[in-house]
């Protein structure tokens, strides 16, 4: 039942300041979408949540716990509370779909093969992919890979589900399908909190309970889809309308 709170988060790579004091609350039990242009540090933000990268300064809270400076060993327990769907699905291409989804169970539980199979089948069925179970990742389409990645991220029933640009590179029909899957997963998983990274405004307006716009290393706008539609914030307007001229330099 925890929110995620990011406070004054900063991250630079050499001289390049990517995050410059970012503040954001990701409310429990909802879909929050962070939107921003490519290269603004959206993936960097997600990776810091999972401890794959560490912030230079600022804090990350889960509920009341400050996880920012946990040692690696402790962080591993925190990661168990997260599931992440990577930008290009990041399925292991040396494994079948079945082995991919079974991976977290094999690594973290002592379930028998029969129980693993049951849970993998159920998880794949919930994303509509029961019949792809014995395929290799290179045999299935980009949209199917995304769904396998969702099944893999969900199999240990995480509290937080993170999506990194779930619909980038998919055709419009597949995009609608994945959006629907994110909404469906959120609505059918009690206790789940979803955080989606996107640069697709339309999809964001469809699925988000809360929208945060990332610009020049900070969150410059927060609100609901209706707030976004009605705001006259120049950066948000430019992004929504996809105009070339405005505060966002191309």
């Amino acid at each position: 039942m925890s929110d995620i709170r990011l406070v004054g988060l900063r991250k630079a790579f050499g001289k390049q300041e990517v995050l410059r004091g970012l503040d954001l609350v990701v409310p429990f039990g909802k879909i929050t979408v962070i939107i921003g242009r490519s290269g603004t540090g959206k993936s960097v933000l997600l990776k810091q949540l999972m401890g794959l990268l560490r912030p230079d300064s600022g804090s990350i809270f889960i509920g009341d716990t400050d996880i920012t400076r946990l040692p690696e060993g402790e962080f591993r327990k925190v990661r168990n509370r997260f599931g992440m769907v990577f930008q290009n699905a990041a399925l292991f291409d040396s494994m079948t779909v079945y082995e991919n989804v079974a991976f977290p169970l094999r690594e973290h539980t002592r379930l028998r093969e029969r129980e693993i199979r049951e849970r993998v089948v159920a998880s794949l069925a919930s994303v509509g992919l029961a019949d792809a179970i014995d395929k290799d990742p290179h045999q299935i389409s980009g949209g199917m890979k995304k769904r396998v990645a969702v099944a893999r991220a969900l199999i240990r029933k995480p509290e937080f589900l993170l999506f990194d640009e779930p619909t980038t590179g998919l055709d419009p029909i597949m995009t609608a399908h994945v959006d629907e899957l994110i909404r469906h997963t959120q609505d059918t998983s009690p206790g789940l909190t979803s955080l989606v990274i996107s640069h697709d405004m339309e999809a964001t307006l469809r699925i988000a309970d809360k929208i945060a716009m990332l610009f020049e290393g900070r969150v410059i706008f927060e609100g609901t889809a209706d707030d976004v539609r009605s705001t006259d914030h120049p950066v948000v307007r430019q992004f929504v309308e996809g105009r070339l001229e405005g505060p966002i330099k191309v």
Binding site: K47, M50, L52, R76, K77, R79, N80, F82, G83, M84, F86, Q87, N88, A90, L91, F92, D93, F103, P104, E107, H108, R152
Partner: protein, 262 residues
């Protein structure tokens, strides 16, 4: 930057790189010792190392033995010492050529494959995915590969020795007309099991180096397909050089001991 600054930057980068390599290899080595033990991955990697390299190692061994027989026959013939041919060539094969050539061949096939595979996993975020599922990616990916290489390169080296000696014997006794009696006699007399064991020990060290360098380069590859290609090339070159240099120092350290033995 002037040349001196550039040299300084290069030295600092090299030292940082060596530090990174050392930390990575220490972590991977510790990963072999501590649980969880993933025997399935270990056996899969052992099979991979063996399958990739067995035929090329045996081919190299056979031709090295054969060409060495011809060259040595030429040299020994001048001193009328052809009877020493078998023992000399066998010593050279088991002590030096076996470990070195086996490791360089395995490096070309397996070290490069490890760098390319881990590099691809890095740039497609598969390594991040492993870590995001609370699994230590160094232990999961690098430890079994390095362990498999430590175990398999000596076995491949022994195969090289065996085929090499068969090659020498065949060329010497069947083609060059060396008298088989003294040939085998001297060979048995001069070549000690310790020579073979010593060579295998060295190959274990070389296996450790080529796999850890390959994994390290792949693990930290950056920047798409091009970055993976670069990581692969750098891994093969660095391990190749390291194997030759380290071989020199091992030989230097071990040489006095084998003199005492004789």
């Amino acid at each position: 930057m002037n040349p001196i600054e550039r040299l300084g930057a290069w030295v600092i980068a090299s030292i940082e790189d060596l530090g990174g390599y050392t930390r990575f290899t220490a972590r991977a080595t510790w990963g072999m010792i501590r649980p969880p033990y993933r025997f399935r991955l270990l056996f899969k990697q052992m099979e991979f190392v063996g399958n990739q390299s067995l035929s090329i190692v045996m081919l190299t061994g056979a031709f090295t033995g054969m060409v060495f027989a011809v060259q040595s026959d030429f040299a020994f013939g001048r001193f009328g010492a052809r009877g020493l041919l078998g023992s000399t060539v066998t010593l050279a094969l088991t002590r030096e050529l076996g470990p070195i050539l086996t490791s360089l061949m395995v490096n070309g096939r397996v070290g490069s494959a490890m760098a390319a595979e881990l590099g691809t996993m890095r740039v497609t975020e598969q390594i991040d995915a492993i870590e995001s599922m609370s699994v230590d990616p160094v232990q999961y990916l690098a430890s079994p590969r390095i362990a498999a290489s430590i175990l398999m390169v000596p076995i491949l080296c022994a195969m090289f020795d065996l085929v090499g000696v068969i090659g020498v014997s065949y060329v010497a006794t069947q083609m060059l007309g060396v008298n088989p009696g003294p040939f085998y006699n001297r060979m048995e007399w001069f070549v000690d099991p310790d020579d073979i064991w010593g060579g295998m020990m060295k190959s274990a060290i070389f296996g450790y180096i080529l796999a850890s360098v390959g994994c390290y380069r792949g693990f930290y590859a950056r920047g798409g397909a091009e970055g993976v290609g670069q990581a692969t090339t750098r891994a093969v070159v660095a391990s190749g050089v390291a194997i030759l240099v380290i071989d020199y120092f091992i030989t230097l350290i071990l040489a006095p001991m084998s003199v005492n033995r004789a």
